[in-house]
Symmetry: C2
Subunit: 422 residues, 2 copies
């Protein structure tokens, strides 16, 4: 199903410095002050770069939410400020940061993302609304690629005729004038979108995005969603290979599954026991809390069935049928945000290869259980297997995020999209 | 007039990477691509740090303006993104960046400035409107100083009772909820204001600012303005020494005044000849363009007088009376944005000491003619003289901008100011 020379793409989700486990911040080898420690962010980014990861992805929501008493913040302090620091100490890895079309002015978004793009000699985006994206891309193109003459002898810094002020006025947003930032090595930041396959999001992704960050639990769901995304690109007049579909995965790399489960149970907090009723509902059986540590017997599992109301149920049932206790089934991450793999590197490589070759993803964004050692474990135990199998690059294909994703050059608005109805 | 142990404060204005001269970008030892080269920004910051400068100041206006064909951009690509990179490679120097109360949401301003403050282990601010500043400072204080428990054993990350959501609603701006950033080493960023002594700006400076960035041309003007600023602080119930008045200075350090003038004339562009009519008006005499290179004769100068319509006129007349040609008078920078000193280090030290001891400034922000060698020249030729004279520190007094400015601790809103009418 995949071209022999097509390689899968890996990115790493950078949440708040601790890891995918609720209690990752409590692990004894983790400094609990990591949230404010950009040295740690840099260290994790460098580890991912050693594994030829194409990008870091910083999901973001501009507020404090969730159970911060026990389970950290789920955001970086500020994605662009921290990625600017990371850019000073990494070379190839790209940045995919969240930019809000609701809570930020497009001019400031355009300015900050492009400044990061220029100084990092790489970059990224994630957007929600057509107007905001069109204004941002138009601002990125407002300084034409050859506008910056910088001829000292001829006393000519910029060719003013090549600064093209934009004059875009939509229903909600407007912007005038050019941006004061020159082209970056890859021209301009790469736009990513994220979310589910709503018609509104697909229309945005199909027109503007080079990457689509997904949350999907099964190969079937991912294949169907990836096809919707590719069709949206076709409908916008683009080649569907111009947009890379990136599925999520959470990882616990350990010598055995048992050791991996124990590591997860140590830092899972109350999440495991609180998840028991949900597990019962997914499997269509009642599980008494007193029996959380008793393996589910074959005769009980015979009557179980995967609930159609949760796409994670079929995986939960498959894990349960391996004979684990309900606690261990939950420790497999069966109700986590993404498919979770627990165990030796080979299991992780098998999961990635199966999805990739089934056309369920062009690449993956990885959230390790605990960054402090989980990034290194993935890079040392999983990446070499993928490389041996010939489905992952042994060197970065290029020096920009565009090159490493394999998406085409773009500068300013895409002429195939301009004027399309919003 | 000054306390014997009071030292003057130096900051450096970081404009666009080239320098204070219009044609600084054309100097052969300057890479004309410096605007997009954060390595150069880092190099200039490190040079200033070697000279124990307390801060870097990045004036900013979010647009492309002026004669960009011949004289560069006059802004950094993006102040916070670039200062984040600088923070990775400097230790003591603080950051004073422009934050717009008009073009940015207070939540984003609060978040980005405080994130920079935490990761740099230092910091800064500059504001215009009471509401915006109060919201920003309240957000900075919304995570109480001891809220971040991070007790791994007790499974307690944050004490939620010490996250104090703000609920501020003014006439123009509103914000709810806490900020997700812990205290920095200095508690929170330092607020600077800038501009002239309008009642509106004085009321803001007097209540919130720890630094006042000034544009003044004479000692008399500066003393009067500094007194207004100090009185505004008194009226807000503060000690006037809590706000430091920082005057501007532009520098050309050269072995002789003649060599300094020649350096300036080489990169001044058309500015010199274009300034001739203005110089005539300042001196109350007509100067024919053909005579721009003829020294002004004593008999002509006898009839000259400093125009009361331009505060720079008295200095222009004093320079003219030294016997320079009109071109050289203009090359002295007599119509520049700030007082300009041209010549050996001692002249610069004399200027700074005279203003400082006259009570005209607590410190200065320095804009060198050409950053590439002008920062080093100032640090090597001027700073040692100031240190010898005992009016400038030989080591950084502390590890934070607050300590290096000598302004008091603050966390959240100043309780003396809260509730004051706006």
């Amino acid at each position: 199903m995949t071209m022999p020379d097509k390689k899968l793409i890996l990115g790493m989700g950078l949440i708040d410095g601790y890891g995918g486990l609720h209690g990752a911040w409590r692990a004894p080898h983790v400094d609990p002050g990591t949230y404010a420690d950009v040295d740690a962010t840099v260290r994790h980014a460098k580890a991912a770069e050693r594994g030829k990861f194409a990008f870091l992805f910083t999901p973001d929501f501009p507020a404090v939410r969730g159970d911060v008493e026990h389970s950290t913040i789920s955001n970086l302090m500020d994605p662009l400020i921290q990625l600017s620091a990371v850019a000073r100490e990494t070379t190839n890895i790209g940045f995919v940061a969240t930019g809000s079309t609701t809570f930020q002015e497009p001019f400031n978004t355009a300015r900050q993302f492009k400044a990061l793009d220029v100084l990092s000699h790489r970059d990224e985006r994630y957007q929600r609304a057509h107007e905001a994206i069109q204004i941002v891309q138009a601002l990125w193109g407002s300084w034409q690629e050859d506008a910056w003459v910088k001829d000292q002898v001829a006393d000519r810094f910029i060719d003013p005729s090549k600064l093209r002020p934009i004059n875009l006025k939509g229903q909600y947003l407007a912007s005038r004038g050019p941006l004061a930032i020159p082209p970056s090595e890859q021209g301009q930041p790469v736009v990513f979108t994220s979310g589910g396959p709503s018609p509104h999001l697909l229309s945005i992704a199909g027109r503007y995005a080079s990457g689509f960050i997904a949350e999907v639990w099964t190969i079937e769901e991912a294949r169907a969603q990836r096809e919707l995304v590719r069709n949206a690109a076709r409908e916008a007049g683009r080649d569907p290979d111009e947009i890379k579909y990136i599925a999520g995965i959470m990882t616990t790399v350990a010598p055995t599954v048992r050791e991996g489960l124990d590591r997860r149970l140590r830092y899972a907090g109350d999440v495991i026991e609180a998840g028991l009723p949900h597990l019962g509902a997914m499997l269509g059986i009642q599980i008494h809390p007193d029996r959380i540590d008793e393996p589910l017997m074959p005769q009980r599992l015979a009557s179980a069935h995967a609930s159609p109301r949760d796409p994670r149920s079929s995986n939960a049932l498959a894990v349960a049928r391996e004979g684990w206790s309900p606690r261990d089934v939950l420790a497999h991450g069966v109700i986590d945000f993404h498919p979770t793999v627990v165990g030796p590197g080979k299991l992780h490589a098998d999961h990635l290869q199966e999805w990739f070759e089934a056309g369920a993803a062009d690449g993956f964004w990885v959230t390790p259980d605990i960054y402090e050692d989980g990034v290194d474990a993935f890079v040392d135990e999983v990446v070499p297997i993928l490389q041996e199998r010939g489905i992952y690059p042994t060197e970065y294909p290029g020096t920009t995020l565009r090159a490493n994703l394999g998406v085409p050059h773009q500068y300013g608005l895409d002429p195939r999209i301009i004027g399309a109805e919003q």
